[in-house]
């Protein structure tokens, strides 16, 4: 027993020492990096700055450590730069071989190296890497796939769209956030590519994401498709109604009114439809919205009151009437809506 305790104590003491050594090693590495950055960074920043301003020669980068630092500084700059300066910097990085290294890195064995390479290519967004990035859509690491799909959406052509959509579909259930990032990148680069994802034939998970994005980006060309989504599930209808309201789609008033009046739908979907009616501002919605002020569901009533205020003179008159003569709860909501 005693011997076991002695052995265990020795083991734990060894483990403590090991952990301490590990801590020291991590700190030494971090300090070395910090020292290197402190030493070289100002010079790298200055060289890049003068080069981009057109008054300096192209910086020369030698040595692995210096290259890593140079790339880090350049990537930070790329996130801020737009237009010609960005193009100049990307061209410089390509010339210095960073794009080539990143393309090779996409095939590295280590996942972290592949991820870093994907991020570098995302920052560079150079069309030279289209083939490598497209090939990386089959990568087994989800972060590499997602980053590359987003990059491809930005740099690829029409031919790459199906592959990007397939990448989004692949991860839509397991990693909806990653799929949403891909669809968002696609929608920002080429809004037209969203159309097939909004169709009823698209997988439900990806369609839901596409509807949310089309609504949030207020892509007016998809008003018709969004309208068709109003008949879908409550989630889908809620997002679509919100989008139609933001777009201000006059042609959707009838469908939105139908959804708002449908007491088989969730209050969230109905409230979104009521809000959309207010945002569109068609006086024809007045009667329905007044009726919705009387429903028992609080969010729906509140949405109807807010929508009435947005309808303008007639809606506000209805609110005044409700505030004066309505039951207490309705009166309170109406009064609140009149004081936005």
């Amino acid at each position: 027993m005693l011997q076991t305790l002695v052995d265990l104590t020795a083991c734990l003491a060894g483990l403590v020492v090991l952990l301490l050594l590990l801590l020291i090693a991590i700190r030494m590495r971090a300090l070395r990096r910090a020292r290197r950055a402190h030493r070289f960074r100002p010079a790298v920043e200055e060289a890049l700055g003068t080069y981009l301003a057109g008054s300096g020669a192209a910086p020369v980068v030698a040595g692995r450590g210096e290259r890593v630092l140079f790339l880090a500084v350049a990537q930070e700059a790329l996130s801020d730069l737009r237009g010609n300066e960005r193009d100049v910097l990307v061209a410089l990085l390509v010339r210095l071989g960073f794009a080539r290294d990143a393309m090779l890195g996409l095939r590295a064995r280590r996942t972290s190296a592949r991820r870093a390479a994907a991020e570098t290519l995302a920052d560079l967004a150079t069309p030279l890497a289209v083939h490598e990035v497209a090939a990386a859509l089959a990568n087994r690491d989800i972060l590499v796939r997602t980053t590359c799909a987003c990059t491809l959406a930005a740099i690829g052509g029409e031919d790459e769209v199906p592959a990007i959509v397939a990448a989004a579909e692949r991860d839509a259930l397991a990693a909806p956030g990653a799929a949403a990032s891909i669809v968002l990148a696609l929608a920002q680069a080429r809004p037209g590519a969203l159309a097939p994802l909004l169709e009823a034939s698209a997988p439900a998970a990806i369609r839901r994401i596409a509807v949310t994005i089309a609504a949030d980006l207020r892509v007016a060309q998809f008003a018709g498709l969004l309208q068709s989504c109003l008949a879908g599930s409550d989630d889908l209808a809620t997002s679509s109604a919100r989008g139609l309201g933001m777009i201000g789609e006059f042609g959707a008033v009838g469908a939105l009114a139908q959804l708002a009046a449908d007491d088989t739908r969730t209050p969230q979907a109905r409230a979104a439809a009521a809000e959309a009616l207010g945002a569109i501002g068609d006086p024809a919605s007045l009667g329905l919205l007044e009726k919705l002020l009387e429903v028992p569901d609080w969010p729906l009533r509140a949405a109807a009151a807010a929508a009435l205020w947005r309808l303008g003179q007639h809606g506000q008159a209805a609110l005044h009437r409700a505030a004066v003569a309505g039951p207490p709860e309705m009166a309170a909501l109406a009064a609140a809506a009149l004081d936005p």
């Binding site: 403590v16 991590i26 968002l184």
Partner: protein, 566 residues
């Protein structure tokens, strides 16, 4: 004695097994998190219209001197879709008036939504400008009640509870919201890292220089927090068995919180109770969900530096844990609740509730055994060494994880101090903590101080207001300091600051210089300067009878209260 020995051995083995497992899981979880946090695709989504709108709920009770700065710093957080909802919990000071004045608020008509119950609302105020700020003025009902009011009035799908005296890092909201972006359907709550601000330099509601505290008591808490957040909570996240999201900084899906009825107001551990209730509700409904601790986003808070306040805090925490267990005892060892019922709650019961009692009784029994010759001294010493070394392994493991993730204290001296305090905590601090926990349990049994906590509201003395370290008392114009130049902080000599500070019996002297940083924004008027010039920038900001936002303590000589009053 034999039974006790075997029980202790069993407890020790279980403790080692669970904590080692959590540490390993935390390592895996942190690696995953680090990879995701570097993903530009997800970061871009957080900057897009897809970023979920967040309502930051700030319950405030008698926070007049600090609330404006807290709200300002929250409104300036780096997040695209943000609203701030301040709930004035029946403050007896000028908290509300201060907010109205500073943010140019006007009363607006807002009927109280019926989603969760809380004390009556007296009024609602909104900014005349475009500021996304709403102030709810309500009867005093405590922190949980205020959060319920905030949840009712918030219009965003995510709500983030923040203590009025805490400081969020600029990107904390974005990082905490990341799991909601990654998996919006399943994520119901996320919590961020809470770090101790004692010793840090704070400038205009921002931590500009992170330092370890000077106080030994606060240092012990730094070690505890590191172990709890990097080891335990991150580990439980990997199993989806996280039982607590810190009340100082936690983000929730509003519909989920409303769905479970909001915060309970009849417990002192409302944050833990809510999380356990979320687990219970979602598992009862067999709906997929996850509750995540995110290791990187940081909320700075001030730790108690006196044993009296720390004791009260620990007793309250213990009561909160025990109450949560009592409310949800049916989940214990119930396979229906998966890892929460079978592992997390039993671990809470065994290590947090029974553990302190066992350890304290162990000291007595082992001492008796030693005296009576039933235990051999070498065996005792070896067992003691084993316990201390294992504690060190867990602490060092957490320190490694912290260093590998984001360490705000990279200096060598901080490493040695952490190691020193990790060793030192086994000799006195740990035992004291256990004693306070047992006291907390005893309080629960006797139901003492039960209602008093509720009535006191949010700024209890033990909440250690960061924005206003002095608790409410009469506003006394007081000279707080004489500033003299120092090589590190050259300033123009200035004398006679008239400051409105709140004095209490505990702190009859209002002064700067006790700590590295005076954390309170203080009303300051410059009475006279030696050369009739502005004081040195960086040492005094916003003088000229304005708010002195940060008053660095170095180079400041404390003077007695009342000296040089106008």
């Amino acid at each position: 004695m034999i039974v006790f020995t075997w029980f202790v051995c069993g407890f020790f083995v279980a403790f080692v097994a669970v904590n080692s497992m959590l540490l390993c899981l935390a390592t895996v979880q942190l690696r995953r998190y680090q990879a995701r946090s570097h993903s530009s695709a997800l970061r871009r989504t957080l900057r897009s219209p897809l970023a979920p709108p967040i309502a930051v709920l700030v319950p405030a009770y008698n926070e007049a001197s600090g609330i404006a700065d807290s709200v300002r710093s929250l409104l300036a957080l780096d997040y695209p879709r943000l609203e701030v909802v301040v709930v004035n919990d029946g403050s007896t000071d000028e908290t509300l008036q201060h907010l109205i004045d500073v943010f140019d608020l006007r009363p607006v008509q807002r009927p109280t939504p019926p989603f969760v119950t809380h004390k009556p609302v007296r009024g609602v105020y909104a900014a005349r400008s475009q500021l996304r700020l709403l102030v709810i003025d309500k009867d005093n009902g405590g922190k949980a009640d205020s959060l319920n009011a905030g949840i009712n009035f918030a219009t965003c799908p995510l709500v983030c509870s923040v203590d009025a005296d805490s400081i969020l890092e600029q990107d904390a909201l974005a990082k905490t919201a990341m799991p909601f972006v990654e998996d919006p359907e399943r994520t119901v709550a996320t919590g961020g890292m809470v770090r101790i601000a004692n010793g840090c330099r704070i400038d205009r509601g921002r931590v500009t220089e992170a330092h370890l505290p000077r106080s030994a008591l606060a240092m012990f808490q730094v070690v505890e927090y590191m172990r709890a957040f990097f080891g335990t909570r991150t580990g439980w996240t990997a199993l989806n068995g996280l039982l607590i999201v810190s009340g100082a900084f936690g983000m929730f899906r509003r519909d989920a919180v409303i769905g479970v009825g909001g915060y309970r107001t009849d417990t002192v551990g409302e944050d833990m109770e809510l999380v356990v209730r979320l687990h219970r509700t979602f598992r009862d409904a067999r709906r997929p969900y996850r509750i995540v601790h995110v290791a990187d986003p940081v909320c700075w808070t001030e730790a108690p530096e006196s044993t009296r306040i720390l004791r009260r805090q620990r007793r309250r925490w213990q009561r909160g844990s025990m109450e949560t267990l009592l409310f949800h005892w049916r989940m214990l060892l119930n396979p229906r609740y998966g890892v929460v019922g079978l592992l997390a709650l039993p671990a809470l019961l065994l290590f947090e509730i029974v553990g302190p009692i066992l350890e304290l009784s162990g000291y007595v029994i082992i001492t008796a055994g030693l005296v009576l010759g039933l235990i051999s001294p070498p065996a005792f010493l070896l067992f003691l060494a084993l316990a201390i070394l294992y504690g060190l392994v867990i602490t060092m493991g957490a320190a490694v994880l912290e260093d590998a993730t984001a360490n705000p204290h990279p200096a060598w001296s901080s490493l040695w101090r952490i190691v020193l305090y990790a060793v030192g905590e086994s000799f006195g601090y740990r035992q004291l903590g256990h004693l306070w926990r047992v006291e907390g349990l005893w309080q629960l049994v006797r139901k003492s101080e039960w209602g008093a906590m509720e009535r006191k509201g949010l700024s209890r003395p033990d909440s250690q207001s960061l924005a206003n370290p002095l608790v409410p008392g009469p506003l006394v114009p007081t000279v707080i300091a004489t500033v003299t130049p120092s090589p590190r902080h050259p300033v123009t000599p200035v004398t006679g600051y008239l400051a409105g500070r709140r004095r209490t019996p505990e702190r009859p002297q209002a002064y700067a210089g006790e700590r590295d940083v005076l954390l309170a924004p203080v009303k300051v008027a410059v009475k006279e300067t030696a050369c009739g010039d502005r004081p040195g920038k960086g040492d005094l900001d916003g003088q000229d009878a304005g708010d002195l936002e940060v008053f660095h303590g170095r180079g400041i000589d404390p003077v007695k209260a009342g000296d040089g009053l106008f």
